[in-house]
Symmetry: C2
Subunit: 341 residues, 2 copies
DNA sequence: CTCTGAAATGTAAGCGCTTACATTTCAAAT
DNA sequence: ATTTGAAATGTAAGCGCTTACATTTCAGAG
């Protein structure tokens, strides 16, 4: 049987209150000698407090929750890694929930919230969901949102600077490489990241005085397959683009496949650029030019915000912060200077 | 303030015991009408039981823990996916812990065990660790081990059939493709999977009457970089192998890089085969011939064993099961029939 | 109409801890 | 020696639930 605080108290000849104090935040309120004695007995009996009983008494679990739309893929594990790192060093346990075929994101959140299993949650919302708002306002635990959406301004929000990333790489294609015929494969319409990336692309073209060609904007779904289909659509146009800006690396990889299949050489016949800089980029030949995102930084930053909130529990609340993680461009060989022909 | 069982009881004009019964496993011990009334009030007040208080009273958390050596990479997320799927459908929550720079695997296990946060754990042990054994025997909660190690026979164990996989692909190289000069890059010596894969390779050579060439067995660390180094080592030998069996796909990818760099064409100048069939294989050109492993199946199978144990809590224990997940060969274009030259 | 026992419900203890408040201890001040 | 108040410790309630046991209800038997 596992030792309880009573066992320790009895063996040390003190009350359980003293043991609790010696082990908790008020160590200094117990005499150093007794404290020492208690420590030794704890070690001897291999005692460690039951965290669940502790919760019931303190109303704080020492855990934070991370809710993701999905768990597979480098992107999400990087986020987890970032969150894990910070929560661990802040002394918190991390519970991860993700939606899957049999559980949607709302259920995941509710699981945490309703059963009061966590002190706070980091919540990634990739696209609009009406239910979420009402849930969040109902349960009053601290929440940090990872999303590039409008609204939810009363919460801390963190996201990649999608707009800036897309703008920069488009501008790079135009100004540095001299391209003018640039198409984009954007992500799902309801996806916030996709929206911002598309906007960055459009604004960069506009600012350069280039026309926005509707046919060169095709929507897809952030998957490789989706990229393949979208690419072949673009290549079948009468007026073909010279470069495709795929809104993520998966779809860029899809472009590689299609180009390969149809006999286009990258970068000579078709330039491709991506977004995310996920791990598999290293395996693409030629190396993909893409927007680098410090994904784990998103996790770290958002968790820091959450811990800030948690430690301020009873003090006055600071106003919500809205942070963007900046991006950079990774130059590969998947697109070259425009040749005048 | 969140509603408690008292709120429900008061509003329904019954005792908390009745509410508890109406909501728990003994629903049938409360009159249908009262039950109905209680349900409605719960819905109205948006009540759901505090699972932590429930634990304290019942001594069962409704959660299982998954302890991984790491969380990054397709391999681990596939495992998580498998475990998640089964635990979810069995009504359990899943807590995932992994070691990282600041927390080793033993700490991860202890976190779960000591604080009694989980009813059982699925534990992946990739290499020998003496502490683990004593920890496991100290805390008597059900454990399923994912590992291809000897020992721990009193626990349920699940693993990939590493030996069979390695044997098969080596045999395939010999018998089907006619190769005789086959080198291997094996994983870390202390890693159980690596040990078994190496043994499979050796036995297949032996059984075919081929000599075991010490210089053709080089140890590495399952990383891409490690594969690169090991490959250049093999290619610098006076007597070069025709094919390299890399003990995982990462190292196989490393071989691709090195071959590329040194001017060897795959598969003409050098054949490469891998193990795992992780997602990025699709991006390797030419497509990698490798051993397919149903990774998520490992998670599913082990979790099923655990749930079996948990549901049998008080009945007689069944003897431990030791299961191997079988493998298959994915034929790519990274190795071709031996040409007589 | 009373009796009986199963069904329905209530009472209260207990799960392992924290903590407000009460009590005791003890060194320093008088 | 006595007083005093901070320091150290103890007492006991309470966190939200489950459940053994006690009590009440009530349909059917006598």
């Amino acid at each position: 049987m596992k030792a309880t605080i009573y066992d320790i108290a009895k063996k040390a000849g003190v009350s359980i209150a003293t043991v609790s104090r010696a082990l908790g935040e008020n160590r200094d309120k117990v005499k150093p000698e007794t404290r020492e004695k208690i420590y030794n007995i704890c070690k001897e009996l291999d005692y460690s407090p039951n965290s669940i009983a502790k919760y019931l008494a303190k109303k704080t679990t020492g855990s934070i929750g991370l809710v993701l739309p999905e768990i597979q893929g480098d992107f999400y594990t990087e986020i987890i890694k970032g969150v894990d790192e910070i929560s661990y060093s802040g002394g918190y346990n991390l519970l991860v929930a993700s939606s899957h075929s049999r559980r949607n994101i709302v259920e995941s959140i509710l699981g945490f919230m309703k059963e009061s299993m966590v002190d706070g949650v980091v919540l990634m919302i990739p696209s609009m969901n009406k239910q979420i708002e009402s849930i969040l306002s109902k349960y009053q635990i601290p929440v940090v949102i990872i999303s590039d959406m409008e609204g939810f301004d009363e919460y801390d929000k963190v996201s990649i600077d999608n707009y800036q990333g897309a703008y920069s790489i488009t501008e790079y294609l135009i100004k540095t490489l001299g391209h003018t015929k640039i198409a984009t494969i954007c992500g799902p319409e309801e996806n916030f990241d996709a929206q911002k990336r598309k906007k960055g692309y459009i604004d960069a073209l506009k600012d350069a005085g280039l026309p926005i060609e509707k046919r060169w904007i095709v929507e897809s779904d952030f998957t490789i397959k989706g990229g393949e289909i979208a690419c072949s659509r673009l290549l079948s146009l009468k007026e073909k683009p010279d470069v495709i800006f795929a809104a993520n690396d998966n779809m860029a990889a899809g472009c590689y496949n299609t180009a390969n299949l149809l006999g286009y050489k990258i970068p000579e016949d078709l330039g491709v650029v991506g977004f995310d800089h996920v791990a598999f980029c290293d395996f693409l030949k030629p190396k993909l030019t893409t927007v680098h995102v410090q994904v784990s930084e998103i996790g770290r930053v958002s968790t820091n915000l959450l811990l800030e909130r948690l430690s301020n529990k009873n003090k006055e609340d600071r106003p919500p912060k809205h942070l963007k993680i900046s991006t950079g461009i990774i130059i590969g060989n998947s697109v070259i200077k425009k040749t005048t022909n």
